[in-house]
Amino acid sequence: MTTANQTILLVGEGPLFEELHYLMTSNQYQVIDLKMAETGTYQVKLALEVMNTDLEKKKDSIVQLDRLLSLEVPIVTTSLAITATEVASWTKHPERICGFGTLVPLVERELIEIAPALQTAEEITPQVTTFFTTLGKETEVVVDEVGLVFPRILSLIINEAVFAVMEKTATAEDIDIAMQKGTNYPQGPLAWADQIGIDEIYAIVNGIHRDLREERYRPAPLLRKLVLAARTGKKCGQGFYLYPQEEGIRV
């Protein structure tokens, strides 16, 4: 499939927004925002919505997209903090909503998960799969549940590591070293949280907790406090570690 001159409407905020924007433009897609779409001069192939930390904003965007885009255009939304099924329930045309999930940095993700909502029409999922394939990613279609598979498992590992920090079982540094050297994790969970964004991780854990309503998914209080204190990780210079300004941009 040629991607040249195909238009993707990208909506939302956060680390995924920037990285997806870059990934799409470097694969010859034309990426537009909501304002540009409203002019009616573009023929949108697919819309991507990536807000996770503010579900009110997410809802506003989704409702606007649903109103603006013609019926056959798939709206692909992150189902990291909420199910795709719930997002679809906000729309008049839920059959074109489909969930997906991944975490930054996208260069490290060979595979992206796709989660059709209960309402998603049969012909939508293959279009979404094809779209991610054109971005050079493999795909796996899973059942719609908050956080999908990788973001859910990683967020809960991080949540447990945060409980351990809170309870002074060990320092953040030692926990990260332990998980890398004792069980071969590609990164220490707390440095990983700093890289992804602590607010994004909190949104996932909180979303699973809100949806499944089990104590098992209770977010570590320190995780929430770090979000409230705006110590969300590398991007703001402070999370579980400090990132001096000059090192802040280092990936």
């Binding site: 998960e113 809960l156 060990a170 332990a178």
Partner: protein, 284 residues
């Protein structure tokens, strides 16, 4: 280089591995096991491992002979009287470890560090009834001990600061990467890694994704070397289940650690992973 005289108790996989780690750094080791066959197997293991090192050009024949000479297999606990550090790697039973340390307290100097390689028993519980509980700590190696760089140094409630530092230094002298942990269930790794298995099992149970899918996603999306189910098959599903159960109980049934019924059924069915030819995957 003879600042440490080490005693290792239990010559199974972990004990033999720990003895080899110490001898490779030039420390004299007395390796205690009441079972002659186990000791014999340990000797064969030292021999074959070091022979491979020679073949690979990592060490000379001379170094190999010297390392083997440093390990002295013994059958009587009294022979540990002259040791400055003792590491126990006997089966994970509190009563066994307690009685062992009580015997050692009578035999060894009160300064001798008594370290436990336990992965799941509270260090404070092991130390509690001893005359000098301040010298009891955890020194948790990872399997295989000669390969895995990490050791967890676990501070019991009564461990002295001086002994914590001494144990940490000892781990460094063994060319390991030590981390410090307080005496909490599962310490660091066995606790923080629980969701990797438990949540994968939950996702499977809830019908979100299949075994092969979850493994593929964790490797291809997450960059993990092995998927959670492949890894359980390798570790042994029974071992993995037992660790989860222990951590769950020791956290007084905190919901985050709740074990999986799927995993329990696998254990009940004797499908324990690679070692039985069948687990989440078929190896027959």
């Amino acid at each position: 280089m003879n600042e440490y005289r080490v005693g290792v108790i239990g010559a199974g996989t972990m004990g033999a591995g720990i003895a080899l780690v110490c001898a490779r750094q030039g420390y004299s080791v007395k390796l205690l096991d009441a079972n002659e066959e186990t000791l014999e197997r340990a000797k064969q293991y030292f021999h074959s491992t070091l022979t491979k090192d020679v073949t690979k050009g990592k060490i000379s024949e001379e170094q190999k002979a010297k390392t083997i000479q440093l390990i002295n297999p013994i059958a009587r606990i009294e022979e540990l009287h002259d040791r400055t550090i003792i590491v126990e790697a006997v089966p994970e039973r509190l009563e066994l470890k307690k009685s062992l340390f009580q015997q050692l307290a009578k035999i060894c100097s009160e300064k001798t560090l008594l370290l436990s390689n336990t992965s799941s028993i509270s260090i404070t519980a092991i130390a509690g009834s001893l005359a000098h509980p301040e010298r009891v700590l955890g020194l948790h190696f990872f399997n295989p001990a000669p390969v895995m760089p990490l050791v967890e140094v676990i501070r019991g409630k009564q461990s002295s600061e001086e002994n914590v530092q001494a144990t940490y230094q000892f781990a460094k002298k063994l060319a390991k990467v030590p981390v410090m942990a307080t005496d909490t269930p599962g310490f660091i790794v066995n606790r923080v890694a629980r969701p990797y298995y438990n949540e994968a099992l939950r996702i499977l149970g809830d019908g979100v994704a299949e075994v092969e899918q979850i493994d593929r996603i964790m490797k291809r999306a997450g960059g993990f070397k092995m998927g959670p189910f492949e890894l359980q098959d390798m570790i042994g599903i029974d071992i993995n289940f037992a660790t989860t159960q222990t951590v769950f109980q020791d956290f007084f049934y905190e919901g985050r650690f709740k074990p999986s019924r799927i995993q329990e059924r696998m254990v009940q069915a004797g499908n324990l992973g690679r070692k039985t030819g069948e687990g989440f995957y078929d190896y027959s």
